[in-house]
Every structure is written in C-alpha cells, then in structure tokens.
Symmetry: C2
Subunit: 121 residues, 2 copies
Amino acid sequence: MDFDKLNGLVPAVVQDDESGEVLMVGFMNHEALQRTIASRYATFFSRTRGRLWTKGESSGNRLRVARLLVDCDEDTVLIRAVREGAGKVCHTGERSCFFRELEAGAAGLAAAGGSRPAEGS
Amino acid sequence: MDFDKLNGLVPAVVQDDESGEVLMVGFMNHEALQRTIASRYATFFSRTRGRLWTKGESSGNRLRVARLLVDCDEDTVLIRAVREGAGKVCHTGERSCFFRELEAGAAGLAAAGGSRPAEGS
C-alpha cells in the first residue's frame, strides 16, 4: 500500500456487499488497515479526532468486512461490507452517508439543504 | 462542499450507475468539481501531475455523470456514471481499478502481485 500520497492515509470506500450501495468513505492509516484486517471490522483514522475508531463502536452499527480490495496504484481500498446492528451507517440515521444530490447552486457547489453535522461514528 | 480537510481536495468515488460496481476513486478540487458539473464528465485533479484531467480525455473511456451525490459532512462526492468508449476505466485495461484482493502478507499489507503502474487517464 502507498500511504505516502496523502500524509500517511488512504481513502477507504465502504460498499454494501449485498446491495452494492456506497455507504461511506473514511480514511485509514497503516494501523487502521492492520486493525481492519485483523478484526474484520472496518476501522478508520479520524482526521478530526486524531485517533483510530472502529465504525459502530458506540452505535453498534459495525461494518463486517466481506472483501477487501485495493486499487491499481495501491493508494485506495474498497471494503465490501455487511452492515450489523440497525444497519444505519450514517450518523444522521440514514443507511448511507450519500443521501443528497449535489446541486450547482448560486454559491457554485452548495449541497442541498441542511446543516453540516460533525463527523460521527 | 468542504475542501479544507484535505488541502483543497475531496475524494470522488465513481460508481457504475447500472451495475453498482465501484470503478475508481480520484480527487477533485473546486475547479474539477465545477468542470464536472458543467461538462457532465468526471474531471479530477491529478495529484501527481498537478493539473486537471478529464477521465478518458486520451483513451475515450470517459465517465458521463448520471447522478452526483455528496456525503453527510460534505467532504466527499459520489458520482454515479455511465461508462463510454470501451468502458475500461482502469489504465491497466480492467473495467474497474479495484480488481485485486488485499492480502495480509509478510509485509503486513502487501497487495497481491504485480508492479505499481503510474496513475493513468
């Protein structure tokens, strides 16, 4: 894996292994990836909190790794995952973090509606 | 959109709108996202080349935007795309850049097989 392009991190895309839905994108450092492999549960490095966090560690909505893929130039991972708990991956209560269409509004790139909640678990 | 977390960039996940297959992940700066919205073709900022590039500009394997989604905290975009040309998104000739399983090898996180080709178009 190439962690050098992004200051020790790689993006990690999580996709529902059954439906194919893209659920979230987080970042992993080397340790987060090792822990993900060892535990079989998606674990990220939180840029805002500066520490590892296993998705769902507080909510129970964990993501069990079904398959772990790497891209051609080894700077991104794709996790095909099984949703546990209530299956609500987003901290807003949605199944997926990608629940809004981007609108090309007056500000150019304003997302449609709503506030911007803090990054959750 | 929040471009501040990653030095002016956001990850952009491209998913095949028909099959749901995750095809690639690139990075966009504000200009790349504006151009993507205006042209309806996925355009990224190449970190290695330091310039914008429209996916498939040389190969013809362009990615037409069917839907453009943003995540809950507005720091990642998801493009649901229609593959044009031969439909081979990866510069290796594969349909998707994610064609290898990650193996937890001796080095901990070695990807299976092969060299690491330069980032392609």
